[in-house]
């Protein structure tokens, strides 16, 4: 079974990620039994059949909008956001909006081109789970979560900016 990082620990992952293969359509692709994370489009096309199951997660592509799940985010035990490549940063805003605007509190998972050096930023904007790229050592990737011990600005993990959380000493006027 594949491993992921969740809540700062490496755990076995019992979810299956459904990706549309060539020739599949969101309407007709078969969603097998068990815990499956389906593409947003599949969820939208097959909602009637899937919504009673309770073991369905959904993943959002970087060019899709999290607002499509407005009002129903809490129905998902897991929502994943895809990073098609390292440099595509839309997923950071998608995650932030899922948490801050849409009020999602369940597992928020980064999938795709996810590597150690992105994890610190990802956890800051609201991700708590990371399906890191399988060709890399996941225990090594875990170290990325602790690169920094302090941050200037507010985000999801730290609701107040540094200047509201700490008493940064005022400079003595004459040094």
């Amino acid at each position: 079974m594949r491993e992921i990082i969740k809540d700062k620990a490496v755990i076995a992952d019992d979810w299956t990620l459904l990706q549309l293969a060539e020739g599949d359509t969101p309407e007709t692709v078969a969603v097998l039994a068990g815990k499956v994370i389906v593409p947003l489009k599949v969820w939208q096309a097959q909602q009637a059949a899937l919504q009673g199951r309770g073991d369905i997660g959904v993943w959002i592509a970087s060019d899709e909008r999290p607002e499509a799940l407005k009002g129903e985010v809490q129905n998902f035990p897991v929502i994943a956001v895809d990073f098609p490549k390292f440099s595509d940063g839309r997923g950071y805003s998608i995650a932030y909006n899922l948490r801050a605007r849409l009020g999602y509190t369940g597992e928020l998972r980064a999938i795709g081109d996810v590597l150690r050096d992105q994890l610190f930023y990802m956890q800051r904007v609201g991700f708590n789970a990371f399906a890191t790229r399988p060709d890399r050592n996941i225990h090594d990737a875990l170290k990325g979560l602790t690169d920094f011990s302090e941050a200037y600005q507010a985000s999801w993990d730290q609701k107040a900016p540094l200047f509201r959380r700490t008493n940064r000493e005022e400079k003595a006027l004459q040094e």
């Binding site: 390292f86 440099s87 595509d88 940063g89 839309r90 950071y92 805003s93 998608i94 932030y96 801050a100 605007r101 590597l115 050096d117 610190f120 930023y121 990802m122 800051r124 904007v125 090594d140 690169d147 920094f148 011990s149 302090e150 941050a151 200037y152 600005q153 507010a154 985000s155 609701k159 107040a160 900016p161 540094l162 200047f163 509201r164 700490t166 940064r168 000493e169 005022e170 400079k171 006027l173 004459q174 040094e175």
Partner: protein
């Protein structure tokens, strides 16, 4: 100037450690070059034609003499004895070994500096007016706001992988010296009718392939909302900026595509959720940061110094230098001095390690231990006593830093170009040198007066050619280097984008092209009209006609004369 507290130190130290480990993983092949590239770029390390280039951030162009000495040390120990000051008020070194970069970052951290976000598709170093705090026409010193923005944008987790690079600039004076109209966001500090401080927010300016001047999307943003409103702009851009084509990925393209009004509406909508939230600035935080920018201990001096006036009258060279390189200061008896990095024969913006040490000494001796880097690639001593100017001038002259050409023809803005940069289509430094040599005569330059000549070696426009009164752009035609010339560009309060005069030229023709442009100006100018004013009045046609009237003999026969 701002000094690091324990938090700033900790963050920069942790960054240096993180980067050291990234380099280790790259060298041991745990990271592929493709994976390492975005990491090193976010740390200002580019792979150029011959070696790595490291760009170090100088926040809003302000640095201490200690920091300048560290630059000299880096130049000596890790480079070839010199560095290059850039149009973004930073410094870059062109001959860096990857293996040594972690040590350089440790050294920088020890003097409160870093290379964070000096490259990559993230929020870059914040730039500002080089005369902040000392200019007579300043309304509000923007540096506390720029510093607060520097901290907010440093390692912002959501905006590190934007569609493209992102540049912000601040201006707080009547005259815009920060070129805010050609930045992704330009903040002008303003006061409203009640005397409250806020910002006029301009978005979507930029140069590059599609030069566009920014659009004002908010006339008055109260200062407390600076960070939340900026966050809203960034979030809209991060989600909707184009990512399919890097040439269409800057925020200016998004603003242009949907219109400034619609863009402003989306920002307001995004802002509504976070306005008045925890990131709203507090008076305490503003005061904490502003305390670092209080005026130094100025002496009470007479507005005019008799000895100084006498020396000025007696010495033409000194008078010339005062005329071009020294500006009035808001405090009586003080002056603002620009040290020219544009001596003919030296690539624009370059300084040797010896010169860096020397200017650090000047700063200690004459200007409260501080220096500034200008976006025109010169250095500034902001707080010099009038009575010290003569001694300073003599010393600067002896060290090749007193060329009295600030704002003149040879004060050329120029990118490193094809000699170093792997993006360049053409060399730019030899063009600058050929022009500087041709017009080295100072009397001639003074007669021509204020003129901005800007050279970029490629369409990325690091040399700001679009806003040069004369702009030169290196282009590639069938593998050969050619130069496209535009006129009528300007920065500042009346910013404009230059217009191309016609087919491009070979390198050897460029000095003659400039000469012909100047001939038209001299022929057509009315009284004290500056080059840009004449250009605006008569348009491109007379210049074009004269430049292309007869062929300019090319030194080499390679390629056809494009204009023939």
């Amino acid at each position: 100037m701002y000094r690091y507290d324990q938090y700033d130190h900790q963050i920069v130290k942790e960054r240096a450690a993180q980067y050291r480990d990234q380099v280790r993983r790259r060298l041991s092949d745990e990271l592929t070059e493709d994976e390492f590239r975005p990491l090193r770029l976010q740390n200002g390390l580019y792979l150029q034609r011959h070696a790595y280039m490291l760009r170090i951030a100088v926040p809003y162009g302000l640095l201490s003499s200690t920091q300048m000495r560290t630059f000299a040390q880096i130049a000596r120990k890790y480079d070839r004895g010199y560095g290059h000051f850039t149009t973004r008020q930073n410094i870059q070194y062109n001959w860096i070994e990857l293996e040594q970069t972690p040590d350089i970052l440790d050294l920088l951290a020890s003097v409160e500096m870093h290379a964070i976000q000096t490259s990559g598709n993230c929020i870059r170093n914040i730039t500002s007016d080089e005369y902040c705090g000392v200019a007579a026409d300043e309304i509000i010193d923007p540096r506390p706001y720029a510093e607060i923005m520097r901290q907010w944008s440093t390692f912002h987790p959501e905006f590190a992988y934007l569609p493209r690079k992102f540049k912000m600039a601040y201006n707080g004076a009547a005259e815009d010296r920060a070129a805010i109209a050609v930045h992704d966001i330009g903040y002008t500090v303003v006061k409203d009718a009640q005397g409250e401080i806020g910002f006029k927010v301009m978005v979507g300016g930029g140069m590059g392939r599609t030069p566009i001047l920014g659009s004002v999307i908010r006339d008055f943003l109260p200062w407390q909302h600076m960070l939340t409103y900026t966050e809203a702009i960034m979030r809209v851009y991060n989600q909707y900026g184009r990512r399919d084509n890097m040439y269409k990925a800057r925020i200016k393209i998004l603003v242009k595509a949907i219109g400034a009004e619609e863009f402003a509406r989306q920002v307001e909508e995004e802002w509504a959720d976070i306005k008045d939230g925890p990131s709203t600035l507090t008076v305490e935080e503003f005061k904490r940061v502003a305390a670092y920018f209080t005026p130094p201990a100025y002496e009470t001096l007479p507005a005019a110094d008799a000895r100084f006036e006498q020396l000025k009258a007696e010495n033409k060279g000194f008078a010339n230098w005062l005329n071009r390189n020294v500006r009035p200061h808001k405090v009586p008896g003080y002056a603002i001095v620009t040290l020219s990095l544009k001596k003919t024969g030296v690539p624009p913006g370059d300084a040797t390690a010896e010169q860096m040490d020397f200017v650090a000494d000047l700063a200690d001796c004459y200007s409260f231990n501080e220096l500034r880097v200008t976006h025109e690639q010169n250095l500034v001593l902001a707080d010099v006593k009038q009575a010290d100017l003569f001694a300073l001038w003599e010393q600067a002259k002896a060290n090749g830093l007193a060329t009295p050409n600030i704002g003149l023809l040879t004060d050329i803005i120029c990118c490193p170009g094809g000699d170093f940069c792997s993006l360049a289509n053409a060399k730019s430094i030899p063009i600058a040198e050929a022009i500087a040599e041709r017009f080295d005569n100072l009397d001639f330059q003074h007669d021509i007066g204020d003129i901005e000549l800007n050279i970029s070696g490629c369409i990325n426009a690091c040399g700001h050619h679009h806003v040069g009164n004369i702009g030169i752009l290196g282009v590639d035609k069938d593998g050969a280097e050619w130069y496209q010339v535009s006129i009528g560009g300007a920065q500042g309060n009346e910013s404009s984008i230059g217009k191309i005069i016609g087919p491009s030229f070979s390198a050897h023709q460029m000095p003659v092209v400039i000469e012909r442009l100047l001939e038209v100006y001299v022929r057509e100018r009315i009284e004290d009209e500056r080059f840009i004013e004449t250009t605006r009045r008569i348009g491109v046609a007379p210049f074009k006609e004269h430049v292309y009237a007869t062929p300019i003999k090319a030194k080499h026969n390679a390629g056809e004369d494009a204009y023939a």
